[in-house]
Subunit: 214 residues, 2 copies
DNA sequence: TTGATATGACTCCAGAGTAAGTTACCACGA
DNA sequence: TCGTGGTAACTTACTCTGGAGTCATATCAA
């Protein structure tokens, strides 16, 4: 990801434990992601992460500068992946409920096996710097959501800008609620969850969406 | 509220500043509610609250025992009021979307002028003890929500218990999103917000609900 | 020897909580 | 109308702890 030792990062290189920089960095990020997800930014101490990673605290500062710096990197990895997936789906030629379903399906698949990404991206105790970063990602998602919601409202003859704003907030929260519910039910597979969403949309909108092909 | 000086709590009574216990308690609760709502439990220090109230820190400990104790009291006041209102509405002879609207309307009216109550009841940095208290209130709300959602699902022939659970989570989040959106738009009156909700439900469900009479 | 990796043992500070004293007011007796 | 003691309200000036962040030093590959 960074630059040095790009070819064979796993090869022994130098230093007390013989762990190459890129490897160590990745390892710390992995562990930090887990721990931050479990307890939230504020309730997590750098010493916790160091312990779990089997290294010492100063090493983390050596690699990431500060607790916030470390969190920011975790957040960036997670957000980047999620937003990229959602933007990818938005390019597809699908609209309405089907598009919503496709987006959810994509997120479920990205998140499968890495639920910590979702928790970090929604950590309410995140520090200022993290909130700023999150804000920029959220704005990108908002842009996408607002288009879909706008189509729905326009179709219904509602042109009130505040209605658009409010309904977009509602849709975002529905999206989050579904993903969060799934994260809290680790036994449910992405496929099962997608079909559950499809079923629920059908009930709510009184429509049977065509089975997702993606 | 407490016991002593019940008749005329505002009358001077005794002590350095001549403020009666019940008055001071209320004053601290008011200020604490504001400050906790602004910054969240974790980011608020007891000294902050003391400063804003124009008193000293130990006085707060004298009255409430601990930072958590103080927060718990704020939370209790807020939750009690909100849950009572929602349960009251649930008694009414209204079902479906109309009931949802009536509930929202009630909450908007309770919250008008005291938005801090909503923020505190949704403070993600609340301490354990607060979460426990919140849990009990939330369970009461869940009981109500689950009935309404259950009716909808049954009507649609869906009897999957996990579907019920998930859709209830979604509905709760929609409810929260609407209230939160409103809290963040202080210029919108409760009446305006209720009619906005009514309009949005109409768009989403493709139904025009009858104008709320309550 | 040099330079990167790594750590034990610190410093430092914010913020929760406390001990001990101070002030104002009241109710009484002389 | 003075003490004088009782008591509730209130404050100053602390202690103590958890946790962020740092420094001097050690280990190892080349």
């Amino acid at each position: 990801m960074t630059s040095a030792t790009s070819a064979n990062a796993s090869a022994r290189r130098s230093g007390t434990k013989g762990v190459a920089r890129a490897d160590r960095e990745q390892q710390i990020l992995d562990v930090a992601g887990q721990v931050f997800a479990e307890h939230g930014f504020t309730a997590t101490s750098v010493a916790d992460i160091a312990d779990r990673a089997g290294i010492s605290k100063p090493l983390i500062y050596n690699y990431f500068g500060s607790k916030e710096g470390l969190f920011e990197r975790c957040l960036q990895v997670a957000s980047e992946l999620l937003v990229a997936e959602i933007e990818r789906t938005a390019q597809l030629d699908v609209v309405g409920i089907d598009r919503a379903l496709a987006t959810l399906d994509g997120v479920f698949k990205v998140l499968a096996g890495r639920p910590w990404m979702w928790r970090i991206a929604n950590d309410p105790t995140a520090p200022e710097i993290g909130l700023a970063l999150l804000g920029s990602y959220r704005r990108r998602l908002e842009d996408i959501a607002i288009v879909g919601v706008g189509q729905l409202l326009t179709l219904a003859g509602d042109h009130d800008p505040l209605d658009l704003e409010a309904l977009t907030a509602v849709w975002s929260s529905v999206f989050s609620a579904l993903v969060t519910w799934w994260i809290e039910h680790p036994d449910v597979t992405p496929e099962e969850m997608t079909s559950r969403c499809s079923r629920l949309f059908g009930v709510v909108f009184g429509v049977v969406p065509k089975p997702s092909g993606a």
